[in-house]
Symmetry: C2
Subunit: 338 residues, 2 copies
Amino acid sequence: MAAKLKDVAARADVSVRTVSNVVSNAAPVAPATRERVLKAIEELRYRPNLAARNLRQGRTGLIGLAIPEVRSPYFGEIAELLIDAAQERGWTVLIDRTGGLAAHERRLLADGPDAHSVDGMILSPWALTADELGRRSATTPLVVLGERDPKGTADHVVVDNVTAAREATTHLVQLGRRRIGAIGLQPQLSNGTAELRARGYRAALAAAGLARPPELTRTVSTLHRAEGHRAMRELLAAPVRPDAVFCFSDELALGALRAVHEHGLTVPGDVALVGFDDIEDGRYSTPTLTTIAPDKAQIAERTLQCLADRIYGRLGHLPARHVTAPHELLIRDSSSSP
Amino acid sequence: MAAKLKDVAARADVSVRTVSNVVSNAAPVAPATRERVLKAIEELRYRPNLAARNLRQGRTGLIGLAIPEVRSPYFGEIAELLIDAAQERGWTVLIDRTGGLAAHERRLLADGPDAHSVDGMILSPWALTADELGRRSATTPLVVLGERDPKGTADHVVVDNVTAAREATTHLVQLGRRRIGAIGLQPQLSNGTAELRARGYRAALAAAGLARPPELTRTVSTLHRAEGHRAMRELLAAPVRPDAVFCFSDELALGALRAVHEHGLTVPGDVALVGFDDIEDGRYSTPTLTTIAPDKAQIAERTLQCLADRIYGRLGHLPARHVTAPHELLIRDSSSSP
DNA sequence: CAGCCACTCTGCAACGTTGCAATCATCGTG
DNA sequence: CACGATGATTGCAACGTTGCAGAGTGGCTG
């Protein structure tokens, strides 16, 4: 049987309330008393009962994190940083894998994760439209990762996808490439990210006065390697072969890289590649992968900052905040001309 | 204000207890009454308060998962499968990243994750000795991932590391390789896994009558790519260069792969490589990576099976179980002789 | 020395749920 | 028709904690 406040109180010969005051620093306690209580706590190995505390305070100490998948390198890295940032603030993260399913995401918005009550939610939506996000009725503080409706009711933490994609594409232009393709469009998803990156891609080509033949862009169903692999094979099979491709994720780029090699061509010699996300894999692939690196640490930090502000009500009912985290173009071997 | 049982009861014109009975199926309720209650629940958007339920029942519905890191592909994949398996059983997984620190792991064993109470724990120890695991005083059901003291008090779910490592090494022998190195020994860790794989590696060489010069084995501080990269560089710089290397993880192997390429050599032509874990990255690297593939789905499933048995007391106080999940040697391009 | 204040400490009640035991209605059976 | 069995429903208490209001103690001030 675990020790409770009552047991500690009996042993230290004080009231239950005083023990509680020591434990949670709710009211001043005389040094001598505090000492005695702490000793009793130690001896009985007392640990507060979270369920009771939560019931009383209406807080759970839990943060819900809903992401499409844990195993993907990008989300894995983000999840880890978020978990660390949450831990620093005394929260524990409860992970919910949406699998990118709209129904699952919708349920989360309405009910919270797994029927567990949480103090706040971090959602990385995949299939949900900005509209649905905006209409959400739940009152749990929510921070959305990724660009969405600016008029939405929730805080957003984003990177500037249009600018980043433009920079990536412009980099390829400056290498002297002229048939620059793109892999990663997702017209079937209401997910705005792919569209924003596509916009940056087109803007860069337009600025360079380059043609934008539709056969140089490929849509994908997921951002996984397999899709990048398939898409690149299609591009290489077409009559007009690209001499560079901007992939909307590093995983797509790694799949594409493999397809190029299988086709007997070289990277960056025949085809230059740029990815997006700066996952660790890209630093050890052959060749290493040029990529857009979002500042993930800052994304995590600002996300929790937003959440904390909402939970502790520091923002009152201010309108939703839009935080843009910085990014950087990391030029590595897949796009350097040796 | 969220609706509670009382509100629903008032609206459905029944007692609080009856609503509770409908919600938790604790006692039979007449169809008509149930209907009325469900309607009220719907209208008021009632959701049970978990904190109160937990307080009353002494259960939390939470499972702690403690792993060294979330971002690593292997643990990410395992975590995802565990989360899914837990969800099927109505549990929510709470992830605690130990960072592979002994102190952190020790604290977990004593206190549980983040001072949150959980119904059960899954621990993938990194730095903890079998001895410390065995001396654990906490009574929370615990399942340990990875081989440890067979006399321990906790259930274990493992793969047969010795056999797997022997198979991997024997495969290299059968390719005709004679200077077969190993990357991944971790003598500084009490973690038994590396030692077991090393044992299998040595056994295979001994069985083939091959020499085992110590300069062909490399220790590492972590299982990351960077360490594999460094270790392989050292092996290639030595006077006796290996013609094959068994890496104790796929990440090590991918780092090693890069080092081989940087050295102007080819895989598998000059050096054949075999990894361990079957992470997704290895299926898309160039060349694709031969590896030992543990049956991760089964690891997750059996782990939760064990945990459920403990939590629901089906096993009573039976001695600790040792479950061995199957594995498989997947031969891919990094070790085929084209 | 009365009066006040600051500092500690305390008891009570409540958070929302469920286990327990009791009550009430209904039905089948001897 | 009486009685027990069965089924449906209920009230009370308790889980371990903290907010609140208040009591006790001692010192300082006027």
